[in-house]
Amino acid sequence: MSVAAASATAAAAVSTDHPAARVLIRRHRLRLWEALPWIAAIAFYFAFPDYLGFGAELLIAILFALSLDLALGYAGIITLGHAAFFGAGAYTVGLLASYGIWTEPITSLLLAALMAAVIGFASGLVLLRTRGLTLLMLTICTMALLGEAANMAHDYTGGFDGLPSLPIAPVFGVFEFNPLYANTQYLYALAVLFLCFVFVRTLVHSPFGQSLTGIRENLLRMHAVGSPVRRRLVICYTISAALAGIAGGLWAQANAYVNLSALDLDRAATVLIVLILGGYGRLYGAFVGAVAYMVLAHFLAEVYPTAWQLGLGVLLVLIALFARNGILGLGETLWRRLAARRAAS
């Protein structure tokens, strides 16, 4: 055996035996608790048949936050204009259905994703040259531009009032969307969310996803090791936009209407809050954040809107100051402390 071969085997042995290597190899494996959200979602279907409309809304919020997580949490693209893609998807579904061009829900969603991806790609190509405040401003302006365009074309989009009572064909030609009993909407949104989640989970653990994290953590180094940074960012932004477009399309289908609220700063800020609340850059943050935010908003905002706003403001300030990784990060820290104390005693 030559020296080179020996050292190569040694290197191979090190590479799988090293603790760091073991962590790296293991971390994309499915864990048992990962089934929990899905079991909970199915249990919700049977336990709260009266709240399925709210449930569908919640699932859509999760998907939207998940799409933002890809851009913001993994690639570190700070955007306040993600509603642009949500709105693009929603209006694609809305316009196609409203004018009777295309009402089949699944292909409509794909078209919504395509539309959002095209806008994401085109804007990403130019926006992602910039950083910091300029990038933040450009994302806001892109969103405002689309919003104003939708407002300007009010003959087609209905302007501020939007497009009401969209005719959406039944899923697979069988399951109809009933505005009063939202069970089709709920299961349909759950299925779409599940597929998108599996896709995102696979993506972030792939070499591509790893390189995104690298870009977020150390831009210069990624440039130095020859990673095509700009191209990776644009691709990530496009995928994230497509997912947001699917979320928007789902929203339009589940509610059977579209209006300008799909495209405004409020929605963009809300999704950011949802994601940060749960914890960004960690897949399940979108789930935790959306559940926490939507449940609070649903039950508190209706009764005490001002108190809700005040509470939300205080919560945001506290998160920014003390809990930068959101609820999940907080849980993790407490868990570690508990484990350390147990090890010490």
């Binding site: 700070i78 306040l80 205080v314």
Partner: protein, 291 residues
């Protein structure tokens, strides 16, 4: 109305709106340039100052100028407290934390004002001297608008003088250029931050008070005009007084014209122009390129 008169009225109306934008945004530009802090809550300070002024005028019957000054002082004092207690902790954090923190502050301001004063828009009574029309020789125009333009001009000259010709101005410019170097030369950067922040917030309060007459004053103010303040700052260039002034006046005139001729969706051109401009010069019109 013949063309000349309507042209003059558009320009004057736009300039006065732009002046208010400038007065509000100038503090944001300086603090962002100085501290690199993305302070989305700046509009909330403007709103707060506007409320202080209106309350002083309507409930305490203080004069116009005195209540403007009260707004400045109270808002500046509040901003010092917030800066010392909260903002300070986030100077070194990422933009995301700063964005989140300041959005939270906006919500707190909006909710507090809704609870304390109510969700309705606050009326503002101008003093008799500023009401009515003024004969400018070539045209008649609202006295208040002309007053605003003059005040704005005085403010830009004043700030420019402080910035370029005084010791503290030199210190601010030095710190914007190179914080570490300024600090090692013995400039008390911490205190400089606090003073500039207080002054910027106070200016925002004056802008909020002066603009209340035509921008309105309700708890939504802080969010409604946020994008405009940000456009002015990013187009003008961080830390550039002249840049912010030019950007604010241009935006004011453009917005006024578009609202008149294209009331539905005319602002689309403003956003499109901003995008093109920022792509051409990411650092803004008068900003210096980061090295």
């Amino acid at each position: 109305m013949d063309f000349g008169t309507s042209f003059a009225s558009i320009v004057l109306g736009g300039l006065s709106a732009g002046t208010v934008l400038f007065i509000v945004s100038v503090g944001l530009s300086v603090t962002m340039g100085l501290m690199g802090f993305v302070n989305l809550a700046h509009g909330a300070f403007a709103m707060f100052g506007g409320y202080v002024m209106v309350l002083a005028m309507n409930d305490a019957h203080v004069g116009f100028a005195a209540s403007l000054l009260t707004g400045f002082v109270v808002t500046a004092a509040l901003s010092v407290v917030l800066e010392r207690l909260l903002y300070r902790r986030l100077y070194r954090s990422g933009e995301l934390d700063q964005v989140l923190f300041t959005i939270g502050l906006i919500f707190i301001f909006m909710a507090t004002i809704t609870i304390a004063i109510g969700p309705e828009s606050q009326p503002i009574m101008l003093p008799p001297a500023l009401r009515g029309q003024l004969n400018l020789g070539f045209t008649q125009y609202r006295t208040y608008s002309v007053f605003l333009i003059v005040v704005g001009l005085a403010i830009v000259l004043g700030i420019w003088f402080v910035f370029e010709r005084t010791r503290i101005g030199a210190q601010i410019r030095a710190t914007v250029d190179n914080r570490n170097m300024a600090e090692s030369l013995g400039i008390n950067v911490d205190r400089l931050f606090t003073v500039t922040f207080a002054f910027g917030s106070g200016m925002a309060a004056i802008g909020g008070g002066l603009g209340a007459e035509f921008l309105g004053l309700d708890p939504q103010y802080a969010l409604k005009y946020l994008v405009y303040f940000l456009i002015v700052v990013s187009v003008g260039g961080l830390g550039s007084i002249v840049g912010v002034y030019c950007a604010a006046l241009t935006l004011g005139v453009l917005d006024f014209t578009l609202k008149l001729y294209l009331p539905k969706g005319g602002t689309i051109f403003i956003y499109a122009l901003t995008i093109l401009l920022l792509l051409w010069r990411p650092q803004g019109l008068f900003g210096r390129r980061e090295t």
